[in-house]
Each structure stands twice: as structure tokens, then as C-alpha cells.
Amino acid sequence: MAIRLDYVMKETGQNLARNLTLTFAAILTVAVSLTMVAASYLIGTGINNSFLGLRSEQQLLVYMNPSAEEDQIDSVSRALEESPQVEEIDFYNRERTFDEFQTLFREQPDLLSSVTAEDLPTSFRVKPTSTDAEVVSALGDTFAEREGVLRVAYAAEYARQVQRSVNTLNRWVTVVGVVLIGASVLLIFNTIRTAVFARRREIEVQRLVGARNWFIRMPFIVEGLVHGLMGALLAAGGTLAFDALWQRNFVDQVAFELLNQIRWSSGDVVSAILIITAIGALTGAVGSGIAVSRFLRA
């Protein structure tokens, strides 16, 4: 038997229109939760892309002046090696620094083309024996004043702090997103239950004249799917807006040091939208599926 597409569309349309307020609430909840999931996915991807993770291995960075003499670099190197508070040092010459630079900024060809190896400072990546912030900072101070040193950065600590707080924030966004998805399932469940109730006479007659179960259920399942997919559609808009806001306000903005390193590609945005579309469809199918199997028993 052919599926009467016009029948399913007509019935689904009527259901959606009849429950306009509930439908609206369900779609909005789906949209908000999916936007949060997408944002969380993008931030998570951005953190993995950033050098926050790379830097967190290091505790202290001693940047040498690009114009520093060879013997000034040697002297700093020797002093670091002799210091009892230093466990490990790693020297980044110009080529190594440039390699890292190219990796980190691979998505910004403009920046890459305007910088050469000569523009970059060489540096010592220092792992102190102690992780105590005061000890590390005292160690840093002793090198900050040395000849040829450009500056000392406590990047590790700071980077880790930023990473930690962004991660914490992201976890909460995920938790709230997941809780809202749960709420979406319940709302869709409730909307479909209301629709089933509103159509109980039709359903009774359909049963009586020998309609198949899937035929009776189809419009309700489709209705739930429409909730999920409409929500995902709105959330796709929300995701694009979030992406645009992030790009404009953080990425390449010097004021947000480190936060501006959390970046993602347009491919990631597409992945995020595909993921939330799948979750949206699943949410709708699960919500209506439960309602239909509970209230349309054969």
C-alpha cells in the first residue's frame, strides 16, 4: 500500500496548527538547547585547536630579545642550567619558533605571510622544580633583568587558568544543554500526547475501520520530527550567530589574550550544525515515539 504523503502532511499540519502554543514552546526549547550544544562543541574544538594545551606543559617562558647577542643567550642558558630551581629547559631557536608559529596560526594566512623567522624572538621553555606560583615568579624575576632578555612570561599558569575556566564554563554549557534536551523530549512528548488526545475520536474510528498502526502513528511521529528539525533549524541560525559574535569579539582581538586563541574553522561550524540536526531529529523521534507507544497501544 502506498503511503499517502498528502494525508500525512495534512494531518501533521493540522496537529501543528491545533497545538500552536505547545508546538512553539517545544520548538523554542529544542532550539535553545541545541544552540548551547553547538556552542559547547565549537568552544571545545577551539580549545583543542589553540595553543593553550601546548603551553600548559611549560611553566615559564624566557623570551630573548631578537637582537640579543649569541653570548648573552649562552649566558642565560648556562644560568638556567645551573639553577637548582630549574628541572628542565628547552631552547626554541628562530626556526623552531617559526615552525610552531606556523602551526598555531595556520588558519590566518595574512598573519603568516607578514611574519618571518627573523621577526620572532627565541625563547627558553623552562620547567621549574616547583609548581608553587611564588617560587616560579621569583625565579622568573631573577632572569627578567638579565642582559638580552626581552621578557619573562608565566604563560603556563595563566594559560592553564584560562583553559580551566573556559573548560568549566563549557562543561556547564554542555550540562545545561543536555538538561534542556531532556526538557525538549518531555515537551515534545507532552505536545504529542495532547495531539493524540485531541484526535482520540479520529483514532478510534481509524482503528475500527482497520487502519494499520503505523498509519495511525505516522502523523504524530512526523509532528515530533518537525518539532526537532524546526528547533534544529533555529539552532543552526543561533550557531551561525554565535560563530559570528565570537569571531568579531574575540578572535584577533588583542584585548582577549588567550581567549582569542580559541578558534574554529567554518568546517567545524558545519559539523556542529550537522550534529545538532541529528540530535534534533533524534529528540523529536524519541519524544513522539514514547508518546505514541504509550497512548496509541494497539
Binding site: E202, V205, R207, L208, V209, G210
Partner: protein
């Protein structure tokens, strides 16, 4: 066409609706089910389209043991067993035409077939001129005709009627009975539960009398009592 072998139906509240009932009904028969309220008439009918299942005994409809029918095949059974009720069960928001068409839509008939079949059946029940009316614009008798049209539009082998004249005055009831008789003459087996003594005594068809769930009389060309 229909055969009940020692059928017992007990509802969840322990009420015994039908007790050890056996009967055999041939194709094309017209059978009245009579008996006081609660004697098991409705249950008898509801067993035949698997709205309820018996605890004991077997029921054959059109040669099939419907107790063994898997759930997904119940719709096939119901397409062969039409049903009309005392309260018509019409959809108040749909016109006469759409109420009848709804039954065909529900079993996936194409639109062209629906456009052909509905006017035919409306002519049979004498409601051609009312096809665009809504149910609440019709008299009780007319509403019951729509309900019969809906049950018969798919040409089922069996038509179950549960007190179809229960809400109608005697003159209107006669019209409904003429219609059911006409349907019966097309070869459709008709089972009708009723309290209407006048109808049973006039028609002189087979009568099965139930009392407290037991078949106490099964009489060809019988009367109400």
C-alpha cells in the same frame, strides 16, 4: 462465516460477560442478539472484530481463528468486519462526505477510488443531498445512515450493529432496519444487538438470546421473547 466454540470472556473487574458461548453463523445470515443490559450482547460483537479477546474458547471469522491473529493482522480482520453503534461515532468537524471518506483514507485507498466510492454509498443510504452537511445538521436517523455508510463503504463481509436504533424513534428505526436489510441482501452477514422488541418481532430473523453471559435461546425466525 462466524463460529464461536465455548467462548468465555471475563473482564478485569471479574465481571463475566460471556460464559461458554457456542454459536455458528452462516454467510448472509441476519442475526438478532437480544437480552437485558449486561447480558453480553456487546461483548459478543466486540469479540468478533478483536476489540476484546476471550479467556477461553476459539472464535473463527471467515475461516480464521482470530484469537491466534497477530496484532499487525487485526486491521485486515477489521476491514472485513464493519461496525455501527448506538452513538454513531461520527467526527463532528467533518462533513458527511468526509466522514465516509475518512474510513477509506484510513485504509490507504487512493483519492480517485474514494471520489468514486463515497457518492455511491451515500446514494445507497439516501444521503446524496446531504453530503456537504456537518453531522450536527442531521437528524439522528440521518447520522446513523452516515455511520452505516462509513461501515459499509469498504464492502465488509460482516456488519456488526450494536443497538443501532437505540436512540431513534420507531418510525426512523424502521428506515434504518430497511437499510440494514438491504445491506444483508447483498450477501453481507449482519449481527445486530437490540432491545427493540417491535423490530425483532416484525423482521422474524434468527434470534440469539443472552442472559448473564449465557446463550439461552438460539431460534431461527424467532421473536423477541
Amino acid at each position: 462465516m462466524i463460529k464461536l466454540d465455548n467462548v468465555t470472556k471475563v473482564y478485569k473487574d471479574k465481571h463475566v460477560a460471556l460464559r461458554d458461548a457456542s454459536a455458528s453463523i452462516e454467510k448472509g445470515e441476519f442475526v438478532f442478539l437480544v437480552g437485558p443490559s449486561g447480558s453480553g450482547k456487546s461483548t459478543f460483537l466486540r469479540l468478533l472484530n478483536r476489540e476484546v479477546k476471550p479467556q477461553e474458547g476459539t472464535i473463527y471469522v471467515a475461516g480464521k481463528d482470530i484469537g491466534k491473529l497477530p496484532g499487525y493482522k487485526v486491521p485486515d480482520l477489521r476491514r472485513n468486519v464493519g461496525a455501527v453503534f448506538q452513538d454513531y461515532k461520527l467526527l463532528p468537524t467533518r462533513s458527511v462526505f468526509d466522514n465516509v471518506a475518512f474510513a477509506l483514507e484510513a485504509i490507504g485507498r487512493p483519492r480517485s477510488a474514494i471520489k468514486e466510492a463515497v457518492p455511491q454509498i451515500l446514494e445507497l443510504v439516501g444521503l446524496t443531498s446531504k453530503s456537504k452537511n456537518m453531522p450536527d445538521e442531521l437528524s439522528g436517523g440521518e447520522q446513523q445512515r452516515v455511520s452505516i455508510a462509513r461501515a459499509f463503504v469498504n464492502r465488509p463481509l460482516i456488519l456488526l450493529a450494536d443497538e443501532p436504533t437505540g436512540n431513534l424513534d420507531p418510525a426512523t428505526s424502521v428506515g434504518i432496519m430497511k437499510l440494514l436489510d438491504r445491506i444483508n441482501r447483498t450477501g453481507t452477514t449482519v449481527l445486530m444487538a437490540t432491545h427493540d422488541r417491535g423490530i425483532v418481532d416484525t423482521m422474524r430473523r434468527r434470534v440469539i438470546e443472552l442472559d448473564h453471559g449465557r446463550i439461552v435461546r438460539d431460534q431461527a425466525r424467532g421473536v423477541y421473547e
